[in-house]
C-alpha cells in the first residue's frame, strides 16, 4: 500500500523532471535564464562535496533545529497553560487573533533592527513564526481532553498540575506533534528567508544570493532543490515518528493503522 504510494510519487517526480528536460532540449527557453534540468541535477550532485555549500547548509539546518527546539520549549508550555486556564486564554485570544495572520516574513525587517547577531535573528523569526501552529494545537488538544480521564486521576487524589502533566499533556501530544510538524516546515522557510533578507556569513540563503550575483542560476536552483528536499525529508521523518508514538491515538480515532 505504502510502497505503491511512494512508487507513484517517484514516477510523478521523474515524469516532471523528464518533461522539464524535454522543454529545455527543445530550445524554447534561453538556457541563461533557466538552465536545463540535467544541468541543475548535476550541479546539485556536485554540491554534496562542495565544502562551502556544506558549511552553508549546516548553518541553516542548525538554525532550523535550534529554532524548532526553542519553539517547542516555549509554545508547548504556553499552550498547555492557556488550554488549562480558559480565563487567561479568553484574555489573550484577541492578541493572538491579531498577530497570527500577519505574514511572518514581514517581521524580518523588524528583527534585523533588533538583533545584531545573525543566529539570534534567525532563531527569533523562527520562534515567532513556528510557534503559532504548536500553540494553537496545544490549546485545542488540552481543551479536547476527555473530562472523564481527568476525573479519574482527580478521584485518585492527584492535584491539578499532575492531571495536566499526566493526562492533558499525553492526550494532547498527538495534536501537538502535528503542530510541530507544520512548524518544522515554517521554520525552514523562515530560516532561508531571513538569510536572503538579512544577509550574513553562512546559510543556504546566503549561498543562493551569492550564486545569483555570480550569474550561476544552476547553482542557485540546485541549492533551492536541496532546501526543498530537506523540507520533504524532515516532514517524512516527523510523520513516521508520529505514527510510531501515537498508535493509540490513531486506533482510537478509527483511522487505519
Amino acid at each position: 500500500m505504502n510502497r505503491v504510494r511512494v512508487l507513484r510519487g517517484v514516477v510523478g517526480a521523474a515524469g516532471f523532471v523528464a518533461a522539464v528536460e524535454a522543454v529545455g532540449m527543445s530550445g524554447l527557453i534561453d538556457e541563461r535564464f533557466l538552465p536545463r534540468m540535467s544541468t541543475i541535477l548535476v550541479s546539485a550532485a556536485g554540491l554534496i562535496v562542495d565544502p562551502d555549500f556544506l558549511a552553508d547548509a549546516t548553518a541553516t539546518v542548525t538554525a532550523w533545529a535550534l529554532g524548532l527546539l526553542l519553539t517547542v520549549a516555549v509554545a508547548v508550555p504556553a499552550g498547555l497553560a492557556l488550554g488549562a486556564l480558559p480565563a487567561v486564554e479568553r484574555a489573550v485570544r484577541p492578541l493572538i487573533e491579531f498577530l497570527r495572520p500577519i505574514p511572518s516574513v514581514a517581521i524580518i525587517p523588524l528583527a534585523i533592527l533588533l538583533f545584531s547577531d545573525n543566529l539570534h535573528l534567525r532563531l527569533a523569526v523562527i520562534l515567532y513564526a513556528s510557534s503559532w501552529p504548536v500553540l494553537m494545537n496545544a490549546i485545542y488538544g488540552v481543551k479536547d481532553v476527555d473530562p472523564l480521564a481527568k476525573e479519574t486521576l482527580r478521584s485518585f487524589g492527584f492535584g491539578p498540575v499532575s492531571v495536566l502533566l499526566r493526562v492533558s499533556l499525553p492526550s494532547a501530544a498527538p495534536f501537538i506533534a502535528t503542530g510541530v510538524r507544520v512548524a518544522s516546515g515554517i521554520a525552514i522557510i523562515l530560516a532561508v528567508s531571513a538569510e536572503l533578507l538579512a544577509g550574513g556569513a553562512e546559510g543556504i540563503g546566503i549561498f543562493i544570493t551569492e550564486a545569483a550575483s555570480a550569474g550561476r542560476i544552476d547553482l542557485m536552483l540546485a541549492a533551492t532543490l536541496w532546501a526543498g528536499l530537506f523540507g520533504v525529508l524532515s516532514n517524512a521523518v516527523l510523520v513516521a515518528a508520529e505514527r510510531r508514538l501515537f498508535r493509540w491515538h490513531r486506533v482510537r480515532s478509527g483511522s487505519p493503522r
Binding site: D146, L148, R154, F156, G157, A173, W248, R252
Partner: protein
C-alpha cells in the same frame, strides 16, 4: 462512615435526585439498584466530589465533602474512557499507586497482583485498545482494588463481562470487602447481583430518584454462588427488589426492615 441526608441535584431545571437519604457503615457492602437513568451515577459522582449537589448534605467520616475525598477509588461506568490509552494495563493500574509513595518496583508488583485477581495476569503488557470491553472493565476494577481505598465506589462494574467472570468478580469483591475492611458502594441494575453481594440493598425510585426501600440482606457473611441463590431469603429478597424496581408499592416487610 458515609451519611447522606436529603440529597438533591438538578442539571439545569432537570431534577435528578429528589431528597436521597442513606448511610453506609464502615466495612459494609451496600448495593444500589434503580431503573435506568434514575440518577444512580449522579449519586455516586456526588459522593466522589465530582458533582456539587444542589442541596442536602453528604458526610464522609463525619466531615462534609467540599473537595474530592482522600482514600477513595471509583470504578466508572464508562470504564473505557477512564483508562489511559497511551499506557499499558499494568501502568494504568500502577499509576495511582505511585502517588501513594510506592516506588516503581513495589507499585508494579501490587499492580500485577491486582491484575491477577481479576484474571488478567497475562495481559499486563497490553494496551486498553488492544483489549475487549470486558477486559478493559476488569483492568479498571484492578486499578481500584490495587489502590486499597477506604471507600470504593463502583458504577455497574460487571456490565461487560461474561456470566462466569461476573460471578468470579462478585466473589472477589466480597472477599476484598471482608478481608481488607473496605467499605463498598456498588451500583448495579442486576437485581440478583444486588442481593447476592449486598449487606444491604438500597432501591431507588424512577427519576427523580428517592430511596424506595432500604433492605437488610439476612444472608450472613459467607455467600456461595449456587447455594446462596437457592435460599428462601435470597428468593424472597430478589422478588421484593424486583417489584420495587418496577415501581411496585412497598410491602409490609420492607417497611418493617427500613427501621
Amino acid at each position: 462512615m458515609l451519611k447522606i441526608t436529603d440529597l438533591v441535584h438538578s442539571y439545569g431545571s432537570h431534577r435528578v435526585l429528589d431528597g436521597v437519604s442513606l448511610s453506609v457503615a464502615e466495612g459494609e457492602l451496600v448495593s444500589v439498584v434503580g431503573p435506568s437513568g434514575c440518577g444512580k451515577s449522579t449519586l455516586l459522582r456526588s459522593i466522589a466530589g465530582l458533582v456539587r449537589p444542589s442541596g442536602g448534605s453528604i458526610l464522609l467520616g463525619g466531615r462534609p465533602i467540599d473537595r474530592i475525598p482522600d482514600n477513595l477509588a471509583i470504578v466508572f461506568q464508562d470504564y473505557s474512557r477512564s483508562l489511559f490509552p497511551w499506557m499499558t494495563a499494568m501502568s494504568n493500574v500502577a499509576l495511582p499507586l505511585r502517588r501513594r509513595g510506592l516506588d516503581r518496583r513495589r507499585s508494579r508488583e501490587a499492580a500485577m497482583a491486582a491484575l491477577d485477581q481479576v484474571g488478567l495476569a497475562d495481559a499486563g503488557g497490553k494496551y486498553p485498545w488492544e483489549m475487549s470491553g470486558g477486559m478493559q472493565q476488569r483492568v479498571s476494577i484492578a486499578r481500584a482494588l490495587a489502590y486499597r481505598p477506604a471507600l470504593l465506589l463502583m458504577d455497574e462494574p460487571f456490565g461487560s463481562v461474561d456470566a462466569q467472570t461476573r460471578e468470579d468478580l462478585e466473589d472477589l469483591v466480597l472477599r476484598v470487602c471482608a478481608h481488607q475492611g473496605m467499605t463498598i458502594l456498588l451500583i448495579t441494575h442486576d437485581i440478583d447481583e444486588s442481593v447476592y453481594v449486598g449487606d444491604r440493598v438500597i432501591v431507588l425510585t424512577r427519576s427523580p430518584a428517592r430511596v424506595a426501600a432500604d433492605l437488610e440482606v439476612g444472608l450472613g457473611g459467607s455467600r456461595d454462588q449456587i447455594a446462596t441463590r437457592q435460599l428462601d431469603e435470597f428468593v424472597r429478597l430478589r422478588a421484593e427488589v424486583g417489584r420495587l424496581v418496577r415501581g411496585g408499592s412497598t410491602t409490609a416487610t420492607t417497611v418493617l426492615e427500613q427501621h
